[in-house]
């Protein structure tokens, strides 16, 4: 808190009603910030929407890495089956869905075995729902990170999304086995897979940040989120193909980022044509959700320490 004289930002006449016992003693400010990093920061009240401080996020990028690592290590540490859970969860979901929706309800699966079809949808969906659910809880389960220290708080809900990426890659491995088993070959569309994964990450971050901020203010969201995810799954084409939705209403489905993403995953992995309009609308809504989540989070962030 050295206020060097040449600093133009300093108010030269601090109005203070304080009685100074010995004014000389505390005015020992060193005129030049010798040895300092030259790092100057100003803390003041801000109003309305606050821009994301990208420079700060970049400076602390290692912290995000450590938080992601922690989430991965902790997630399976005390479980007997460990990482196997990352395989078992989607596999069981696939088996159940295949039995109920593929066998009994006979939902069409676009000429591929229903198991492969539903698993291709579960890949992005499981990633999305795990990320969002954990991101939403992240702030209230780590209150001390809000009230005892300052750090780029965006990282706290972002870390579980990074952790879920590891699960996603394991799931991809399982999917590869499934493809071999059912003798399916992906087409050239698979080169777009990284882009689709990125889109899923963007959507998950947006929704996760928004729900994390809401959960701090309204603890009810702890109960709302799991329920919301259940409804969201049926609103997304996880167990049914997009084609089942009449063409004139498909844009409604595409407004749900997961609509286009899941359809895109199937196109990329199962060698079928991309539904570009649907994908385009979903991409736009992913980015929209992301921006909304980011800015809402930034807006609410100021109050976190007071209400957490």
């Amino acid at each position: 808190m050295t206020f060097p004289a040449e600093n133009p930002v300093v108010d030269p006449s601090p109005t203070t009603t304080a009685e100074r016992v010995n004014p000389q003693s505390h005015q020992t400010s060193v005129p030049q910030a010798g040895g300092g990093s030259g790092h100057v920061s100003v803390i003041r009240a801000r109003r309305g929407w606050i821009a994301v401080d990208w420079a700060e996020l970049w400076e602390h990028r290692e912290l995000l890495g450590f938080l992601v690592q922690r989430d991965i290590k902790v997630r399976y540490k005390q479980t007997v089956l460990g990482v196997a859970w990352a395989v078992l969860q989607p596999v069981f979901a696939m088996l159940i869905f295949t039995l109920i929706f593929g066998r009994f309800a006979k939902i069409p699966s676009e000429d591929v075995p229903y198991a492969v079809f539903v698993y291709a949808g579960l890949l992005p969906w499981t990633f999305f729902s795990t990320s969002v659910t954990q991101a939403a809880q992240s702030l209230i389960s780590q209150e001390a990170l809000l009230t005892k220290i300052y750090l780029p708080r965006l990282f706290v809900p972002a870390a579980p999304v990074g952790g879920a990426l590891v699960d996603l890659s394991i799931s991809f491995g399982v999917f590869a086995v499934l493809m071999v088993w059912y003798q399916q070959v992906p087409g050239w569309g698979i080169v777009f897979l990284p882009l689709l994964v990125l889109m899923t990450v963007v959507a998950a971050l947006g929704v996760g940040l928004m729900l994390a901020a809401l959960t701090v203010s309204y603890r009810d969201f702890r109960f709302v989120v799991p329920f919301m995810m259940q409804v969201w799954m049926y609103a997304s084409p996880v167990i049914y193909p997009v084609k089942l939705v009449p063409e004139e209403y498909r844009w409604v489905l595409a407004l749900n980022p997961l609509g286009g993403i899941i359809d895109g995953f199937r196109a990329a992995l199962l060698d079928r044509p991309f539904d570009l309009p649907t994908l385009g609308v979903s991409a736009a809504s992913s980015v929209g959700v992301f921006l909304l989540g980011m800015f809402y989070f930034r807006k609410m962030e100021r109050r976190f320490a007071d209400i957490a």
């Binding site: 808190m1 050295t2 206020f3 060097p4 600093n7 930002v9 601090p14 109005t15 203070t16 009603t17 304080a18 009685e19 100074r20 016992v21 010995n22 004014p23 003693s25 505390h26 005015q27 020992t28 400010s29 060193v30 910030a33 010798g34 040895g35 300092g36 990093s37 790092h39 100057v40 920061s41 100003v42 803390i43 003041r44 009240a45 801000r46 290692e62 912290l63 450590f66 938080l67 690592q69 922690r70 290590k73 902790v74 540490k77 780590q142 001390a144 990170l145 809000l146 005892k148 220290i149 300052y150 750090l151 203010s217 309204y218 603890r219 009810d220 969201f221 709302v224 320490a305 007071d306």
Partner: protein
């Protein structure tokens, strides 16, 4: 700034939010023609301007609720000020708690990296200090053990060790020294002194209740009262002023309100001499501490503890029914009274304060630090017209002295 009146309308749960949205127009109708009650504003801090030079070590002192913690939180960027600004030149690190972000499932090694990073250290910095941190904490053998298996002493040592090896240009520290066993506290204080006086040019802002620690570490001090800066200057003068100010406000009894969501809380607390209520407490008096508690849900056995400290903040004695086997109430109650008979506490004349804790079996839910304050006046207990000299010791022990002849050695000495 916190809007107190507004808390009534602050929507805590989603249900209330929805209700308030639905009722908003109705409320507006009601309000027409009726005066809108003014919101009561509460400024946690106001009119605080000060400078700290590079390399200065400044202590912030003040009573509970004076705004010390809020000031620290503003300086550490945890809470954003409503008005005003702070200019910081240099990298800032704040220590409001040791071990923030420690994860019990992770090993000591993993937690060093995680906690270091949370405190703002770069990976390379942590790597270069790693061995120092480990040896300071004395946990070499348990580096790859999850910290949940650590003893509480080890845990605190490791947490402090990471924090102690931070090298920011500006360090903001809250009473973290009040951790660990006596020996480790000494080590921490030594480390703090090294940081503060090592000529490292580091600026330290230090908040504490412990006047002895403030005196030992800081050159300058700043005193807050009700959110305002009342004095700043050499540490000796300010500590004197603080002590003088606390004499004015003797509080043998206090009233308290339920903190938000607390299952058990204090409603009232008082300390008095068993001999005569309302009379000044004299040396040798038997003391009683009585508290009135509230509980929701009803409880059979609130856990109540207290610690008595002297005017410098040194904790002298304490007790807590959490560790004792006293009989609970026959049936759960929503309110009750606990009387704690301290017996004759051998206090020297002087100022004392009592911190209070209450909670249920799981955790403490209401803490009133240094809330009861009282004076012990000198009293000629033995009818000798003499009292022990002040400052000879913290406590005066009610010992008895027996004297007898030494028949074995006396003859040899020619007695």
């Amino acid at each position: 700034m916190y809007r107190l009146g507004a808390t009534q309308r602050r929507t805590e749960t989603f249900q209330e939010l929805i209700k308030s949205l639905v009722l908003a127009p109705v409320r507006k109708l009601h309000r027409m023609g009726e005066q809108i009650p003014e919101q009561e504003e509460f400024w946690a801090l106001q009119d605080i301007s000060f400078e700290v030079g590079q390399g200065d070590v400044i202590g912030i002192i003040g009573r509970n609720g004076a705004g010390k913690s809020t000031l620290l939180k503003v300086l550490s960027r945890i809470v954003e000020p409503t008005r005003g600004q702070v200019l910081l030149r240099g990298r800032v690190a704040s220590l409001l708690e040791v071990g923030t972000g420690f994860h019990p499932e992770l090993t000591g090694r993993e937690n060093i990296y995680l906690n270091g990073s949370i405190l703002g250290m770069k990976r390379r910095e942590i790597e270069s200090k790693f061995d120092e941190i480990v040896s300071f904490a004395e946990v070499e053998k348990f580096l790859d053990t999850p910290v949940k298996r650590y003893s509480s002493g080890m845990y605190v040592r490791l947490a402090f060790a990471v924090a102690a090896h931070l090298e920011p240009e500006i360090l903001i520290v809250d009473e973290v020294l009040a951790v660990g066993d006596a020996e480790f506290q000494k080590k921490c204080l030594g480390k703090m002194r090294e940081v503060a006086q090592g000529g490292s040019g580091r600026t330290v802002v230090f908040v504490s209740h412990n006047m002895a620690a403030v005196h030992a570490l800081c050159k300058t001090a700043l005193m807050l009262q009700k959110g305002r800066l009342v004095a700043i200057g050499p540490v000796g003068d300010i500590v004197q002023r603080y002590l003088a100010a606390s004499v004015e406000g003797e509080r043998n009894s206090i009233e308290a309100k339920r903190p938000m969501g607390a299952p058990v809380w204090f409603r009232r607390a008082e300390v008095f001499s068993a001999e005569a209520v309302g009379r000044p407490i004299r040396m040798g008096d038997e003391l009683t501490l009585r508290i009135h508690f509230g509980a929701d849900p009803a409880i059979r056995m609130p856990r109540f503890g207290w610690v008595l400290s002297d005017s410098l903040g040194t904790r002298l004695v304490g007790a807590n029914n959490r560790y004792q086997a006293d009989a609970p109430l026959e049936r759960p109650a929503r309110a009750g009274i606990i009387s704690c008979r301290l017996g004759m506490v051998p206090l020297m004349p002087g100022r004392y304060q009592i911190s209070l804790w209450i909670g249920n079996d799981a955790a403490d839910s209401h803490i009133l630090l240094d809330s009861l304050q009282f004076e012990v006046v000198a009293h000629d207990l033995w009818g000798q017209a003499k009292t022990p000299p002040l400052g000879s010791s913290a406590l005066w022990w009610p010992a008895t002295f027996e004297i007898e002849h030494d028949t074995q050695t006396a003859p040899a000495l020619g007695g």
